[in-house]
């Protein structure tokens, strides 16, 4: 058995064993779907953009993958606090393998979470334009998951306490979500604001999902995939670097 596989398996087992947490983390997307779906729906429709529920569903899927991935990545902090991190750090394995195992495992959990939210969206009345392209949507989910788990791991390597965790949630994760176009179209925005949304990696993830699932696109599928791919490589490199620098 390889090192990457066993660390992947550990993350996945931990995810599936925390049923209460799985259910709890479905609450937020459901709330968004109901509150925004019904609350904003009429205005959105009047503005001529069509069904808001159709529009926002990919955004909500992107959101849940984002939250879950960053959180799993940062759970490195818990490993540090509860001591298991020491066990992996003294093991005779390249830090890149530890980083990859963790990241892929957390990303897998985040994808399962995203799929559950996808199912919730379907129940809530969301309909993909073309079921044949749904597998591509899963590829995008996977890419978003890996990208943000790597970011979370990088951050988790730097943090040593829980205060930092709150800070990251409020000043990094929430902005990434709100600036991503998960809740509004990225077209016809003020220039400066459009520039900022263009810097947000999640914009490309949500756009990719939305393109595949609903047919409306802001950047184009190729751009989305290339941008996410590059940022993922960057985050994994940065994450591995910071991870290898951890001292206890």
């Amino acid at each position: 058995m390889s090192v990457i596989y066993i660390l992947w398996l550990r993350e996945v087992k931990r995810y599936f064993r925390s049923r209460a947490q799985i259910v709890a983390s479905l609450g937020q997307p459901v709330l968004y779907l109901i509150a925004f779906g019904f609350g904003m729906g009429p205005i959105f429709q009047k503005a001529g953009y069509g069904s808001y529920r159709q529009f926002m569903a990919p955004g909500i899927i992107g959101m849940s993958v984002l939250f879950m991935s960053i959180f799993s990545g940062i759970s490195l902090l818990f490993d540090r606090q509860f001591g298991f991190l020491k066990e992996t750090l003294v093991a005779p394995v390249p830090r890149l393998q530890i980083m990859l195992g963790r990241t892929l495992g957390s990303a897998t959990s985040a994808m399962v979470q995203g799929s559950l939210v996808f199912a919730v969206c379907l129940i809530a009345g969301f309909r993909p334009v073309n079921f044949a392209t749904v597998p591509i949507a899963f590829c995008f989910m996977a890419m978003i998951a890996i990208m943000f788990t790597a970011l979370g791991t990088a951050i988790g390597s730097l943090l040593t306490d829980m205060q930092g965790f709150q800070l990251i949630m409020n000043f990094l994760v929430m902005p990434i979500f709100f600036l991503s176009g998960a809740l509004y179209p990225l077209k016809n925005l003020p220039r400066a604001f459009a520039f900022v949304t263009g810097l947000d990696p999640l914009s490309y993830g949500v756009d990719g999902l939305r393109t595949v699932l609903t047919g409306s696109s802001a950047f184009g599928l190729t751009t989305d995939a290339v941008v996410i791919g590059c940022i993922t490589v960057l985050f994994i490199s940065v994450g591995t670097y910071f991870f290898s620098k951890i001292q206890l």
Partner: protein, 263 residues
């Protein structure tokens, strides 16, 4: 096997380890005794690649832990002073991860896991999550795990913390057995003088980051003109209680527990 020269570790202005030098021969059992906050754990962290020394040199089996990290890591097993299990996983899964991380071949892994878990009386509970274990059982699991990959050096940082007399006896008997049959080098710390006296061939007394005496138990007693190792220890380190408030890591662990009912 272990050679330390002029080793120093500073945390900011505070010097936790002050210019210590010592050697541990292959097949020796060597103990570090010292009051709380003396620098024992900090030294072990530097020997085991977890912490970079501020200055000085360390050699483990002729290798430098700072540059040949993975080669050094292959050679030792360690029981940390602080908890280090994944308590969400079962005892068996904790053993399995360890074996894979240390590239123990499958057949050997299965056989050794069973043998060690039986030895430390964990086999019947192997499929229970470690979080359901008592403190002593968790400790025994950590001890069993540290020996799974047949390391040539074993670091034991207060391994008997929280163990009942039966388990303590079991541990030291096994450690002596490994030492005698496989010439495993052992580096241990403990606050129980009689344990050090029983197993260690040489003892270093460390206080305020510096080694203040080094020798066999008999030598230390002779040096200080005392009857027991405990008396020698107290004579060397004084009887003042070390003012070690709960470390920041402990405070954090408390916080994390409050914030996360899950883990």
């Amino acid at each position: 096997m272990i050679r330390v020269q002029n080793l120093v570790k500073r945390f900011g202005d505070f010097e936790a380890v002050k210019d210590i030098s010592f050697q541990v021969e292959r097949g020796e059992i060597f103990a570090f005794l010292g009051p709380n906050g003396a620098g024992k754990t900090t030294t072990i962290k530097m020997l085991t690649t977890l912490l970079k020394p501020t200055s000085g040199s360390v050699e483990i089996d002729g290798l430098n832990p700072a540059s040949a990290q993975n080669e050094v890591r292959k050679r030792f097993g360690i029981v940390f002073q602080d908890p280090s299990l994944d308590t969400e996983l079962t005892a068996y899964e904790n053993m399995e991860i360890h074996a894979v991380l240390y590239h123990v071949p499958r057949a050997l892994r299965i056989e050794r896991t069973e043998r060690l878990m039986k030895l430390f009386e964990l086999w019947d509970r192997r499929n229970d999550p470690a979080k359901t274990f008592s403190g002593g059982m968790k400790r025994r699991l950590e001890i069993a795990r540290s020996m799974l990959h047949t390391p040539r050096i074993i670091f034991l940082d207060e391994p008997t913390l929280g163990l009942d007399p039966q388990s303590r006896n079991q541990l030291w008997t096994h450690v002596k057995h490994l030492n005698e049959t496989e010439r495993v080098t052992v580096f241990l710390t403990t606050h129980y003088m009689e344990e050090a006296e029983r197993v260690a061939q040489r003892i270093a007394i460390i206080d305020h980051g510096g080694i203040i005496a080094l020798g066999s138990s008999a030598e230390l007693k002779q040096q200080t003109g005392t009857e027991t190792l405990e008396e020698a220890f107290l004579k060397l380190t004084g009887s003042a209680i070390r003012d070690e408030s709960a470390s920041s890591a402990d405070a954090l662990r408390q916080m994390a527990k409050m914030w996360s009912p899950k883990r």
